[in-house]
């Protein structure tokens, strides 16, 4: 049992570390896909950047609309990587993660703090001009991603498995599954509407980049082989019980951390909400996808996750 403020700080530290990694990864994948399809289908490349902006909706509302694709790509790239005013930029998330870590420094270890701090510092010194160069951009973001991985490794290897650790992991799992659901919700309408046979290679690169954006391509291949059937990809990302970024796995993880956090006697509101959702995910499958229910189901998932977060905040953080 820990201070509510400390639990709050650790939960958000977990969320922001995860969010930073998600944003860094999706930036890298989007940049790569956009470069790949640029000459083939400019509209598609443009769509990729728009989707990314919908998944991380932190761009200023008064932003000048980019006239060219290169302009859109450059503005999105720099904005989501290092703009301190963009609430979803990698730099912003790392800063918030570090601020939270500082405020609960006594609940962490030196290894965790130093890794996070150095990852932030390294990205902080990058400027717009440097990042406009694709090679620099890739190496900077890859290095940030690696820094986040070592922070997560330090958490894994050095933190006491106490209530604080549970809240940190809860935040991480919550952010991960929430972002997966948002990404699927954003990408699906365009993906399922596309008539496959028109340009097959392009069609497949989209699905491949969706999997890569959720670092799940290799895991998918292990489960279904190299063949990318949309229905299999959806089945995998929604219902696979083992891949760490599927919706089912994520909701179950959130439920398990909440189970361990709540004391044995009482069933808290948050556990009730997420427990029902986990059960739905365990018993749903192909039918739902075949019947074209994926979108409404994703909306349902997002609503229930939102309610879970509110219940956690109200009960444990008193906010």
């Amino acid at each position: 049992m820990i201070l509510s403020r400390v639990a709050d700080g650790l939960y958000w530290m977990g969320r922001y570390v995860e969010r930073a990694e998600n944003a860094a990864r999706l930036l890298l994948v989007t940049e790569e896909l956009s470069t790949e399809v640029l000459g083939l289908d400019e509209a598609l490349a443009r769509e990729e950047w728009r989707d990314l902006r919908a998944v991380f909706p932190g761009f200023p509302t008064d932003e000048m609309p980019a006239r060219t694709l290169t302009g859109l790509a450059a503005a999105s790239l720099v904005g989501l990587a290092i703009d301190p005013a963009n609430r979803y930029s990698v730099l912003y998330s790392l800063k918030k993660a570090r601020d939270n870590a500082r405020s609960v420094r006594e609940a962490l270890t030196l290894e965790v703090f130093v890794n996070l701090n150095e990852t932030y510092r390294e990205l902080e010194v990058q400027n717009r001009r440097q990042l406009a160069d694709p090679a620099t951009f890739r190496s900077a973001l890859t290095s940030t991603q690696r820094g986040i991985m070592s922070t997560v490794g330090a958490i894994e290897h050095t933190l006491t498995r106490d209530a604080g650790w549970l809240f940190l992991k809860l935040g991480e799992s919550f952010e991960r599954v929430f972002r997966t659901a948002v990404i699927l919700r954003t990408k699906l309408p365009a993906l399922v509407a596309t008539e496959p046979k028109i340009d097959l290679p392009l069609f497949y690169s989209q699905w491949r980049s969706l999997l890569r954006g959720l670092s799940s391509l290799e895991n998918y291949r292990k489960a279904f082989g190299a063949r990318l059937e949309p229905i299999d990809v959806l089945q995998f990302l929604l219902f696979d019980p083992q891949t760490p970024r599927s919706v089912r796995y994520g909701v179950t993880a959130v439920k398990e951390y909440l189970d361990r956090i709540s004391s044995a006697s009482e069933l808290s509101q948050s556990v009730r909400i997420v427990g029902k959702l986990a059960a739905e995910l365990s018993y749903q499958g192909h039918d739902l996808i075949r019947e074209g229910q994926s979108l409404s189901f994703l909306d349902h998932v997002l609503t229930e996750l939102g309610r879970t977060h509110d219940a956690v905040s109200a009960v444990y953080f008193g906010t």
Binding site: M1, I2, L3, S4, R5, V6, A7, D99, R102, S103, R105, E106, A163, F167, I261, S263, Y316, F317, G318
Partner: protein
């Protein structure tokens, strides 16, 4: 009266050495003296960078300071016997000493709390936790009296805990240091310290202090006004080197402005002759140069009085400067107390 009649659980007295080689007490810090984390970190650094130095001398260890501090704090707990709950109360991450608050919390293994983590119920103090509240017995507070309790002191304080003073008066929580302990380190009271020691303890002070002229005394004020170019003037309530005038180095204009301010509230000022602080070789820009230093040993008062065998040596890094405060660009040095060698 505070629990176990202790007002000053943690004291950091500032000591200087003058041009005759005598040690003098320059200032008593009885409120929330800071800097002990530097003492411990300086030693850590030195032992990492120059392990051979430490090996060559019988340097007394200081690493157990957090343990001693925790013992001191537990000693004053109102509920004795069963594991008393000790916390550190910090203003939060924006405070310049936050590192130290967090450092000590980690070293002692106690919760670091902010005002908003605490609440008063039924004249007891609790901290808000994820699974209900828990009673708090001892607060090592690192915030000033003024901000402790908006019901008792500053009403606009968001750092404190409403109702805390009532809990304290009931004897249901111990505060270290006790509210009001600042009276003892007031710069005007300082002038009377030798007499106070004589009166209460029947002893002479072991260390002399710097002659002090008090603004509220008419004769003293006249002396100060006439010798401003030879004196260091300080305001009684400030710390950290703020609000002071270094007479010998100040421009005429600066002295005149300062004197005008003094005349409005003479009691708020004291003056002392400039003490020629001792210097210490200091590595600056690739070579050793003399820089002025003072020493702040840390003293804990619990079941007994313990003096940490080390201390914070503060150094004025600017050439010719007399101001060692870290808030004014001062640095610090590891400080050794040697054990007597056997035989």
């Amino acid at each position: 009266m505070p629990l176990r009649k202790i007002f000053t659980h943690v004291v950091g007295t500032d000591i200087v050495r003058d041009d005759r080689g005598d040690y003098l007490v320059l200032e008593d810090n009885c409120r929330v003296p800071s800097g002990v984390s530097y003492v411990l970190e300086n030693r850590n650094l030195l032992s990492r960078v120059f392990p051979e130095f430490l090996g060559a001398y019988p340097v007394r260890p200081i690493k157990d300071y957090p343990t001693l501090l925790l013992e001191t704090l537990r000693f004053v707990a109102p509920r004795r016997g069963d594991n008393p709950v000790v916390v550190i109360l910090s203003p939060g991450i924006h405070n310049s000493a936050y590192f130290e608050h967090s450092f000590l919390a980690r070293e002692m293994g106690v919760p670091l709390v902010e005002g908003r983590d605490l609440l008063v119920e039924g004249n007891h103090l609790f901290m808000r936790r994820t699974h209900g509240k828990r009673q708090v017995d001892v607060i090592y507070r690192r915030i000033d009296d003024d901000f402790l309790d908006p019901l008792a002191f500053r009403r606009d304080s968001l750092l404190g805990v409403p109702g805390l003073l009532n809990v304290y008066r009931e004897g249901n929580v111990a505060l270290a240091n006790a509210p009001g302990a600042g009276v003892a380190d007031d710069k005007s009271v300082y002038a009377y310290m030798p007499q106070l020691i004589k009166y209460y303890l029947g002893e002479d002070a072991l260390l002399p202090q710097v002659p002090t002229y008090l603004g509220f005394k008419k004769d003293d004020f006249t002396y100060i006004a006439e010798h401003l170019d030879r004196l260091v003037v300080k305001t009684t309530g400030d710390a950290g080197g703020y609000g002071m005038l270094m007479g010998p180095f100040a421009a005429v204009k600066e002295r005149e402005t300062y004197l005008a301010a003094m005349k409005k509230n003479p009691g708020n000022y004291i003056a002392q002759p400039l003490v020629e602080l001792s210097t210490h070789p200091t590595h600056i820009g690739g070579r050793f140069e003399p820089r002025r230093v003072d020493l702040r040993p840390f003293i804990l008062y619990g079941d007994r009085i313990r003096v940490l065998p080390g201390g914070l040596t503060r150094v004025a890094l600017r050439d010719g400067s007399y101001v060692v405060n870290s808030s004014q660009g001062g640095g610090s040095k590891d400080t050794w107390v040697l054990a007597s060698r056997e035989g």
